[in-house]
């Protein structure tokens, strides 16, 4: 019985951890007019395939650092690309003069701060970093 309880607890913890780890949220400034975005729209912005939000206003994506596990998870889920495929993608873009990857910031808090201050920016953060200064526009699944 105790064993079962421990197992349940362990499983619960594991589940909570898994859910927690998976909770990435795409954000814009609370002052932005953008309220919700689809996964493809977010992918296009982060892959620099478009530089505008669907409403036509200018958009600039900001990223976490190369090698950050949350960044890897974000691109795997949003753009279906592994880190190696993302590297190949940016190799194409950079060495054809078609663009530079988004600016990189060290963590969710830095992303939240910069996005909050700039209505034209879009970023993604851990759900725990959400506050009133930013608006979630997509939960990454």
């Amino acid at each position: 019985m105790l064993m079962l309880k421990t197992l349940c607890l362990l499983f619960g913890l594991l589940l909570a951890f898994a859910v927690n780890a998976a909770e990435l949220v795409v954000i814009v400034s609370a002052r932005s007019a953008v309220t919700t975005l689809r996964t493809e729209q977010v992918a296009e912005l982060f892959l620099a395939e478009t530089a505008r939000f669907p409403d036509g206003s200018e958009a600039t994506a900001v990223d976490l650092m190369l090698g950050d596990p949350q960044r890897d998870e974000f691109y795997l889920k949003v753009a279906r690309r592994t880190p190696a495929l993302m590297k190949a993608y940016w190799t194409k873009r950079i060495f054809t003069g078609r663009g530079q990857p988004p600016r990189e910031l060290p963590n969710s808090l830095a992303v939240r701060k910069l996005v909050a201050e700039n209505p034209g920016m879009i970023g993604y953060v851990d759900r725990s970093a959400l506050d009133a200064s930013v608006r979630p526009v997509l939960v990454v699944h």
Binding site: L66, K87, K92, I94, F95, G97
Partner: protein
């Protein structure tokens, strides 16, 4: 020195001017089973795999470096220098691109300077091999138009229609390429229109390009041909290289939902000369098992013209002139054989073994056809068209 960090911070809000340095490269070795000719990735980077060397490092090896300056949101500049095998047989670096870009709006940009030619699907990043699934772009198609840049101006415009994202590029310029040690060719009035349409995981590129070729290559030969009356003049006009308008059309697609990819391309390149009127296509697919991507490619190039010419009629000519005409006819026939007709089937494996590094192994089963030398160069006595051979390649690609 002390003022520097402050300067940097002050600029950060105004859209930070930033200099970025990056580069790419490939180190590879190639073995070709055809010992009577050399296998090369492109006629403009003549390599030595097969006849000259059992294992050749110069087919795919290359180093590129790129400096980008982003002055502000509108203005940027890029210089890319590439070192690869040249027609002189060395690896002297050349300026691949050097251009200034003005981003007028998020959707409209204009560039001035040396710019990549958008001839094919992967034409503008073909040298950054890390971005390619294969060891090299299929030689049958990419060898049909080996020129990779031009000096001039281009403009790109992004637009949406019916849920399809489009980027349309117009380019105008000129370029000069070294063909042999002594000869070069100039392409004037290079004009192209290219459109990339993307919807979901599918992207499709269509390109039309034209240019006028000026060259002193084989001038003596065509001069001699032209002296044989109206038939000689007609042959010189038909096959002459100088002052000819070359046109190229291509259409390609790439479907990549993440775990696998399928891409294909078809092109027609008509030089209206001894360089031929060719049609080429390939189809390639691969599946990604984690860091491993095995792939298969089928590729073909054929002619849209007769591969032989009756030449100058020798009947009725005085013996000395008939002998000279026969010699010229033989040379014309030999030149027409150089327009490659070829098929190849390739199997390869890409392994992304570390961030920014990929190891690729590839086997090509190559068949030069219809009496031609295919895409081979430096053909030696004893070479037989219609006999297939294997090409084994191992390369490491990197980006930084």
């Amino acid at each position: 020195m002390l003022a520097l960090p402050m300067f940097a911070r002050a600029q950060e809000n105004a859209g930070a001017p930033a200099v970025t340095f990056g580069g790419f490269g490939t180190i590879g070795a190639v073995h070709s089973g055809q010992r009577h000719a050399d296998f090369t990735a492109s006629p403009l980077t003549p390599a030595q795999a097969g006849y000259t060397r059992a294992w050749s490092m110069d087919v795919d090896s290359r180093l590129g470096a790129q400096l980008t300056l982003n002055a502000d949101k509108q203005w940027s500049a890029v210089v890319q220098v590439v070192s690869e095998r040249t027609v002189d047989g060395n690896f002297h670096p050349h300026v691949e691109w050097a251009n200034v870009k003005y981003q007028a709006t998020p959707d409209l940009s204009v560039r001035l300077g040396r710019i990549a030619l958008p001839a094919f699907l992967a034409a503008d990043y073909r040298k950054a091999s890390y971005a390619l699934p294969w060891v090299r772009p299929p030689v049958e198609l990419y060898g049909s138009l080996p020129v990779s840049n031009s000096d001039g101006v281009d403009t790109s415009y992004r637009w949406n229609a019916a849920g399809i994202r489009n980027e349309t590029q117009l380019l105008y310029g000129r370029t000069r390429v070294a063909i042999t040690n002594e000869s070069s060719a100039e392409a004037r009035g290079v004009a192209s229109i290219s459109n990339v349409a993307t919807r979901g995981d599918l992207s499709v590129r269509v390109t039309a390009m034209t240019a006028e070729i000026r060259t002193d290559l084989a001038q003596d030969f065509f001069g001699a041909l032209g002296q044989f009356g109206s038939s000689g003049a007609a042959l010189a006009a038909q096959y002459g290289l100088d002052a000819k308008r070359i046109s190229a059309y291509s259409a390609g697609f790439n479907y990549d939902p993440g775990n696998w990819f399928l891409m294909g391309e078809a092109a027609r390149v008509n030089a209206r000369s001894m360089l031929g009127d060719r049609k080429a296509w390939y189809l390639s697919g691969g599946y990604r098992f984690g860091a491993f991507t095995p792939y298969l490619t089928y590729s073909s190039v054929g002619l849209n013209m007769a591969a032989t010419s009756p030449g100058i009629p020798t009947a009725g000519l005085p013996p000395a002139m008939a002998a000279q005409a026969a010699m010229l006819n033989a040379e014309l026939g030999r030149q027409l054989k150089m327009i490659g007709v070829q098929r190849s089937t390739s199997a390869g494996l890409r392994w992304d073994f570390a961030s920014g590094y990929a190891l690729k192994l590839q086997y090509d089963h190559v068949l030069p056809r219809e009496g031609s030398q295919g895409t081979l160069i430096n053909v030696q006595p004893g070479f037989q068209s219609g006999k297939s051979f294997g090409v084994y390649s191992a390369v490491v690609d990197f980006v930084f």
